[in-house]
Symmetry: C2
Subunit: 345 residues, 2 copies
Amino acid sequence: MPTMSDVAKRAGVALSTVSYAINGTRPISDETRQRIFAAMDELGYRPHALARGLASKRSRIIALLFPVPERGLGITELEFVTSAADAARENGYNLVLWPAELHDPEELRQFTQQGLIDGLIVMEVRFNDERISLLRELNFPFSMIGRCAETTGISYVDINFEQTVQDAVNHLLGLGHTHIAFLNQSQSVFESGYGPAVRAQTRFEQIMSRTGLHGVIRFCHTTPRAGHEAFTSMLAEQPDLTAIIAMNERAVPGIMQAIADKGWRVPDDFSIVGIVSSTRMAEMMVPPLTTSDAPTAELGRMATELLIRQLETQEQSDSHVLLPCRLVQRGSTGVCTRNLAAASR
Amino acid sequence: MPTMSDVAKRAGVALSTVSYAINGTRPISDETRQRIFAAMDELGYRPHALARGLASKRSRIIALLFPVPERGLGITELEFVTSAADAARENGYNLVLWPAELHDPEELRQFTQQGLIDGLIVMEVRFNDERISLLRELNFPFSMIGRCAETTGISYVDINFEQTVQDAVNHLLGLGHTHIAFLNQSQSVFESGYGPAVRAQTRFEQIMSRTGLHGVIRFCHTTPRAGHEAFTSMLAEQPDLTAIIAMNERAVPGIMQAIADKGWRVPDDFSIVGIVSSTRMAEMMVPPLTTSDAPTAELGRMATELLIRQLETQEQSDSHVLLPCRLVQRGSTGVCTRNLAAASR
DNA sequence: CTGTTAGCGCTTTCAG
DNA sequence: CTGAAAGCGCTAACAG
């Protein structure tokens, strides 16, 4: 493996000149630059990443702090990872994956102090997240997918949950539904201050109180069985329900089953919309689920780019970006026939 | 950030002694080791990864070559990534994700020659894979999830597709099915020499010819619509079909729909088993799909460990590991009522 | 515009 | 069992 000094010799210049030519750190005459690049080509020279990093104090490696969330990993997480890796690479960075326990800040401290990583992308952020406090305290560069309570001085991208819920409600209202259920994730996730669970539910509550919408809310574990139970219990509380908004993909098959058990059909007798979901999942169901798809690839990409910009400019940029989910009507929502029947009576 | 020389000074020893104490590379008296570790603690010393890597010529970083397969990314891929990252970390390695176009060996060459990576895990391997040829030629350490045609001297883990198909067939035979369809992935994937598509289908063909099983085989794109069409066309060819084996998760909803369209019910009138699938996906369907689940986490973990072992021992180990899928009966397979009816006539 | 040189923080001979 | 010192391959002053 040839080194920079080999290149320098072959091009008949000083080693540092080669370095400057490569990095563009200072002007080089066209003529010598030609010679240098020719020499590099002939030798098949590749700069040594570690040596460069050691000398420049910048590894051009960033890490994605990758928790194993309570509810298990899904397509969403995958797309964060791949889009972040893509974005990193396009900007000349490498992305390392760091699967971390959420509750071990000490490990995080050690990791950041190895000198391996220039910056960090944190995902699955909670309102009060000790990882964030630690990183702030260490003054270590990072960006977030999601957000915590106090975000001054931190860059993040997140989903606009308020709008997402509003869009789903509007979609159902437009179809004539007036009694709508909201199925959240589990209570423990909610109580841990997980942003999506908190923000979406809060907005749904606001809509209920502001518009007089008849709603029912439930927490629900991310299993079909839990979905089945939650649905049954909601219907017992509010028998006039004709639609449900579920921010809980994995509970949906249970809901569908429960609807079928009652002898109802989707969407004729009951409508379902999944929010913060994905086309991939929506299409696995029969009928295909109407969902608002999370812009996962954009989130991963933007979080990466925000971080890299921060690293390159050396400044504490705090960009706050909220992206909407896109509602796609598929086969699981339709006009509310029960209200139509009532109206025609 | 304290350095090794700070630690040495504080402990009153030579810098090299600290290094030996940390790496255990040579015997250190208990007494001085104590002093050194104490000094490290007091200073909060962390070895600098880049410096260590540069000096030792081993970065302790490995990469996962991460293609974006034609059929899109799924849960399976996610679990490769996370389990590989976990396994790497447990062994003191970092895992970088390298999203690579399959068809650009030049990029791969550059990447491996940066000195950043000690070794590589390659996934989505095809029978004749130019990435593999290149790595071999470069003599660069790697392991595979999956396998190519010529595997001498290479370590890999893969699924035992032959057994997986056999198990699925046996399951259906045991339920009385004798006319069974096999739904593969797309023809182009098959023709590119993608192992799962080739091996599974080959085995199914063998079973057909050896046992006189009545079978039909189809390629199918990974969409519900394609599944619907393929099913319809298979049934036209062989109207006595009562069961289908699908190695194509995403086509299954289309199959289910097609079955429903005929007025049939799953599993009473028709059985479906998904192979090389996942519990996660199986549970998204109604009824939940009987599947043989791919041991994705084990595959990712073992590929990582095989690679690391190779790196540590410096020897060309060629372990070949084949893991079975585990068949889990859920709601989509049942006894063949049509044959029962025929028998009772 | 180009050369010289002192490190970056660690590993690893070579000596003792 | 411990020290001293020579790099690993590169960047970035400092000098011209």
